[in-house]
Symmetry: C2
Subunit: 426 residues, 2 copies
């Protein structure tokens, strides 16, 4: 259910909400005080938390403690005394609460890309008679790239089939080894039906791997309830774990001890400190660890996750939908003449926590917005993407952002030459 | 050449140096002032910098800047404005100075284990007609484990041959695809002759991969001069990059664009922000990147590397050898009755920057030492290992550590029951 951004009459919204109505939404927001838990710059409306979450204020102190007390003073002893060695499992168990998994089904480790590789190879190796990996065109690139890498690692006898999202369920067959889907699409915010597609995969004996990078911390998740086999996700988006934060992976308990990691590093060994020559996988999900965990990065990730655990995921999701509805309503009301096309789910439909619009001058428009303090991002070839993080965004921020967007479009400010210059990361 | 810890007569040292002679060594130490660049706890003699380097004082400020200014204020813009996106190459180019490589031959990325996997698979794939990987028994475990993993990934037609170190050169033959050796042995500090073994590998058409985890920052390295093909190394030992710091990898320029990464993630793509469905490797060593770099961890690593770049590697190495000679002399003079056996190179021989002794009660002895502020570590089954980091150790620290060791042995303090209890990381 969507909290209406307007004083709804029950009919489709036609009039944009007034400033007073928006102020009332902020006043009634149960997450109103959470914004103060973040360190945000003045003069910025940050609509890119889906790419890099903002800095939780507690994170700086947490990291400083790890540096000064644990590393500086504790030194090597902190592997035991500060439980550095348990960080992947400890943080994993916390993330498990956000994805509907049991504590021992999740570890934090490596990057999303590396974790994808581990789980795809494990899944394909476990089902040698099936030869197809099924995904969708336009999935997040690294998901598709890691499928290519993993197929190579298992001998080259597999093929990748990319099916449009409305055909995916029908394309699963007895030759499908693995279905790999990103739950919330990184460009469009479209949401796959996790329960239905998991059931469809299982009906044909296939495994399914969910990439939760744009879902975790943004939408409610229930991996166990859906019967999902495998999942990965990102720590630096809605979990606010810091740039390039460690990622996580999930392996359903029923697959523990039957799936094997292709990256059998010492931290995934049954007895890492026995220093024996031959690899022997640890029991459970710990076998999917590989190298030494980056503890300073883990401290920032854990701080972000801890903040999330104080919140009610349903309340976060409800505000996310309301922010999206308001954004869409205001753009419809104020920006209609300027050629923006809403991409992805229509107002009110299930979605992830960002809103995207297509415009042929999308790159320059986004640069002009950023120069005016409205930070979203651009995704080639023509997508303006606006992340809506309920923990630190106000309804008034959305109204102000759309007002600035309207000005940029109306005045064609984006035509300035400096907004045409491409940067390294766009 | 070893700086003599005693007033040498030219003959073999028989008398241990006096306290005055040790004070004179510290007074004359060209690295004397560098200790003040580290944050070290009171009451501790830290002899485990080979496992986890100490905290450079500048690191805390550097990390705080990344958190507050770059992440907190810069937010997503810092990928460009703070050159986060260039961190793997920028830090890699700095590490290149410490390993004798060209700036564009090294990147920092992932863990040592993951980097081993990338390079082993790449090397084996490039030489499909050769079936042997040659290493040594007792190599650092993850090196051997990742060979197992990599052999699996290239189809299972390879085999691992483990030869004692004095037989390795002779065992290289026309079926050898890759020789993988750790330059400085993690237990014994034995040092392989990189130039000779690289030449031996090349004479039979094999590639060679050097693990520099216990070498970089501790002993002078010249990958280019030796003609090495591939290398990996660790950021959290002598580079003082923080617990679980990002690792690095080296690919000789002549192999750029012919070797392929088995982990073809989006950061190793030729155009990562084009978001295309098909993988296309970046030119050069950047293709060995995979996922998003952990920026907070990179900040700590870069701070440690920057400190090293201010120093003269020959001066560091000379002090390392002198510290080792002093440690060995003092143990010989004071601990002879208690059954310690020096492991690895004898006094004066080429070695890495740690000293190890064997003792059947090694575990308990090390716990007793740690309880008395002398922090080394234990490596199963019976090795007491003492790291000698020239940047922050004084000659007087070595003398005091051996004095405490002598007391623990003479009084049999290690027999206390609390020193028998094994911890998670030992």
């Amino acid at each position: 259910m969507i909290t209406p951004p307007t004083v709804s009459t029950g009919a489709h919204v036609t009039e944009p909400p007034t400033a007073e109505a928006i102020a009332a939404l902020d006043a009634a927001d149960p997450l109103r005080a959470v914004r103060d838990r973040f360190t945000l710059p003045d003069g910025v409306i940050y609509l890119d938390g889906n790419s890099l979450g903002a800095l939780p204020t507690a994170t700086a102190a947490r990291v400083a403690t790890v540096l000064h007390d644990e590393w500086g003073t504790g030194l090597i002893r902190s592997w035991n005394s500060a439980d550095w060695i348990g960080a992947p499992q400890r943080v994993g168990a916390k993330i498990a609460q956000l994805v509907g998994a049991a504590p021992h089904e999740v570890i934090a480790a490596d990057s999303t890309s590396v974790n994808l590789y581990k789980l795809i190879v494990a899944a394909l190796t476990a089902q040698p008679s099936r030869t197809v990996v099924l995904s969708e065109p336009g999935n997040f690139p690294t998901d598709l790239y890691m499928i290519e890498s993993a197929m190579q690692a298992v001998g080259g006898g597999h093929r990748l089939v990319l099916a449009p999202r409305d055909e995916i369920a029908a394309r699963i067959d007895d030759d499908t080894a693995l279905v790999l889907l990103t739950h919330v699409h990184y460009k469009t915010a479209e949401l796959h039906d996790m329960a239905a597609l998991t059931a469809a995969a299982h009906a044909r004996g296939a495994l399914i791997l969910w990439d939760l990078s744009h879902s975790v911390g943004a939408v409610p998740l229930d991996l166990r309830g859906c019967g999902a086999d495998l999942a990965v996700g990102c720590g630096y988006k809605f979990l606010n774990g810091g740039p390039g934060a460690p990622a996580f992976l999930f392996v359903a308990e029923r697959h523990h001890n039957t799936l094997a990691s292709p990256l059998g590093g010492w931290m995934g060994h049954a007895r890492p400190f026995a220093f024996v020559d031959h690899y022997e996988p640890a029991p459970g999900v710990a076998r999917f660890l590989c190298g030494t965990p980056p503890i300073v990065a883990f401290a920032a990730l854990e701080s972000g996750v801890d903040l999330h655990l104080e919140m009610d995921m349903q309340v976060i999701a409800q505000k996310s939908r309301a922010l999206a509805a308001l954004f869409i309503d205001l753009v419809a009301a104020h920006c209609a003449p300027y050629g923006l096309t809403l991409v992805g789910p229509p107002r009110g439909a299930p979605r992830g926590s960002h809103v995207s619009f297509r415009h042929p001058e999308g790159y320059a428009i986004m640069q002009a917005l950023i120069a005016r303090g409205v930070i979203g991002d651009f995704r080639a070839p023509d997508i303006l993407r606006f992340g809506l993080t309920p923990l630190y965004l106000r309804y008034a921020d959305i109204a102000q952002a759309v007002s600035i967007l309207e000005t940029v479009l109306r005045t064609e400010a984006w035509r300035a030459p400096e907004y045409q210059v491409r940067q390294a990361v766009t």
